[in-house]
């Protein structure tokens, strides 16, 4: 059964169960919409009514650079996550179910471990006097420790590690829906493995990549702990800057404005993705 067909069935069932949405809507309304509106209000009233917070953010080179950094990091993390996750997802999709469920268990288990613990573990591994650098220096491969932490490398490694499950899970769903016969047919018609991958597997798995990629990208945009611990100040991300504005500068108007811009940009990206991939396909396989 194709992804579209599954979606078609669910869509037609929604109206009958509409009443069941209310608890979730009330929860989201009270604990998401109301605070976001309060945030928006603060961003245009604190310290004085007007748009000066937005003008300050968009007119200042530093803040613009932090916005830019945030998108660069999120983009790099998303690309690397896709590249690493794809082979894993493909293995999971074609593996015997019993073995696959064990591997799934391992992947899910990593998500249950505390985020801070996992990030600190990476610090121990990556720092100049850390396990990786010591091992490489001990083996005589390098004489100077590699700069693996407090920079983009550290942030990327730490975040890709945390984001992998969010990419693998939707991708497996999409890949499993692909009929393996299509690949066999391609081979029979003389396509090389790479051509089969590029012209059959990749296009068919795009909805899963798009769904997972969007999730990873959006989550990365607002990430705090991992960039704060594994990154340096020169590739600071937006969430850390907002924390500084709120905690250290006590400039809540500016912090609210920054948070609101992030929200708007994220929603705009989501809308763009819906247009490009189509709403049904974007949700497919997830």
């Amino acid at each position: 059964m194709s992804v579209e067909a599954q979606q078609g069935i669910t869509t037609s069932r929604i109206p009958a169960g509409l009443g069941g949405l209310f608890p979730a809507l009330i929860l989201i309304g009270l604990f998401f919409v109301v605070p976001v509106l309060a945030l928006l209000l603060r961003s245009v009233t604190d310290p004085a009514p007007g748009l000066q917070n937005y003008a300050a953010l968009l007119g200042d080179g530093t803040y613009v650079r932090v916005f830019f950094n945030t998108f660069v990091v999120a983009f790099v993390v998303t690309i690397v996550t896709v590249v690493v996750a794809f082979p894993v997802a493909w293995m999971l999709a074609i593996m015997p179910p019993a073995l696959a469920s064990i591997l799934f268990g391992i992947i899910i288990l990593s998500m249950w471990t505390n985020l801070l613990t996992r990030t600190y573990a990476w610090m121990v591994l990556l720092q100049r006097t850390g396990v990786i650098n010591r091992a490489l220096m001990g083996a005589g491969i390098i004489d100077q420790p590699l700069p693996l932490i407090n920079n983009l490398t550290g942030v990327t490694i730490g975040m890709v590690y945390i984001m992998l499950p969010f990419m693998i899970l939707p991708l497996v769903g999409t890949l499993r829906a692909i009929d393996p016969m299509t690949l066999r047919a391609a081979a029979l018609c003389g396509a090389s493995p790479f051509a089969a991958f590029r012209r059959i597997l990749l296009p068919l798995s795009l909805p899963g990549i798009a769904a997972g990629g969007l999730m990873v990208f959006v989550m990365s945009l607002g990430y705090f702990v991992t960039p704060a611990l594994l990154g340096g100040t020169s590739n600071m991300m937006l969430a850390e800057m907002i924390a500084q504005m709120i905690q250290s500068l006590l400039n809540w108007g500016l912090g609210s404005a920054a948070a609101f811009i992030l929200l708007v940009v994220t929603m705009a990206l989501y809308a763009l993705q819906l247009r490009l991939v189509g709403s049904k396909r974007a949700a497919g396989g997830a």
């Binding site: 200042d60 080179g61 530093t62 650079r65 932090v66 950094n69 720092q127 100049r128 006097t129 407090n150 100040t233 020169s234 600071m236 800057m241 500084q244 709120i246 905690q247 250290s248 500068l249 006590l250 400039n251 809540w252």
Partner: protein, 334 residues
Amino acid sequence: MKLIFAGILAGLMATTAAKADEMVFTSWGGTTQEAQTKSWAEPFTTSSGIKVLQDGPTDYGKLKAMVDAKNVTWDVVDVEMDFAIKAAKDGLLEPIDFAVVPKADLDPRFSNENAVGSFYYSFVLAWNKGAVSGEPGSWADMFDTKKFPGKRTFYKWSAPGVIEIALLADGVPADKLYPLDLDRAFKKLDTIKSDIVWWGGGAESQQLIASGEAAFGQLWNGRVFALEKDGADVGVSWNQNLTAADVLVVPKGARNKDGAMKFLAAATSPTGQAKFAEASGYAPINTKAKAEMPADVVKGLPDAHVDGQINLDMNYWAEHRDEIATRWYAWQAK
């Protein structure tokens, strides 16, 4: 539906209602707060019957949020003095009740209408003996990457200290530091920027130096004291040590204000201050405390190193806090 909400609200209010025999003390965690708990909170609970709940770490954003929302769950908070001066101006703090807290013996440098001293400390130059050859002897050495190669660690947040260190290293005389020449300071810091690892909290600074991840750095003297006590191989230079203070404040609208004032009286008493100084290596703010301390502990305190000591100007910082912070974070993000 209404009934359910009313029930939830009533439940919330019941659990958060102030209890006269309970108060909350908030500080920075780690070895410092442990010492405060042992030296102040535990004896205070024994003598007054008021239970002291520990919370932390101190978060200025949270403090402001509590006061703004009129839902203050912290009764006494340990904060940096420049913040206390600024916060008092913004109306975030209760005045200290000096009818309850004896003022006579408090060092006037560290107390005002809205704050009493908690302890005072020095930023000192500390290094990992295994990672540094030779002995760095001044802040200028921290900027000399040829003579002293390796990563150096500085305090990450915008606060008194690093700007002054850069200016001193650049040759500004101690008595000409203020008003701070920010352009000159950032230019000097630019010269070693790629060698800086920032520490955001005391425990992190200890970990960086003890592991040799940073060869040397600017540390709070109490954190170096704790490292030495643990047997870490660290060196310390008190040359040009920079003093600053932490103070204790009561947020406006604190639930147990009476208990808070009594706690302040105990914490700033000669005995409370002597015990804390002994446990932490930070200096007491009660002038009578030293009489109650062993001589060898007194020798290790910041006020045994007044030669070349520089007092960071808290009033200047309170006045220019936002302006410096904006430039500081902009420079860091570059």
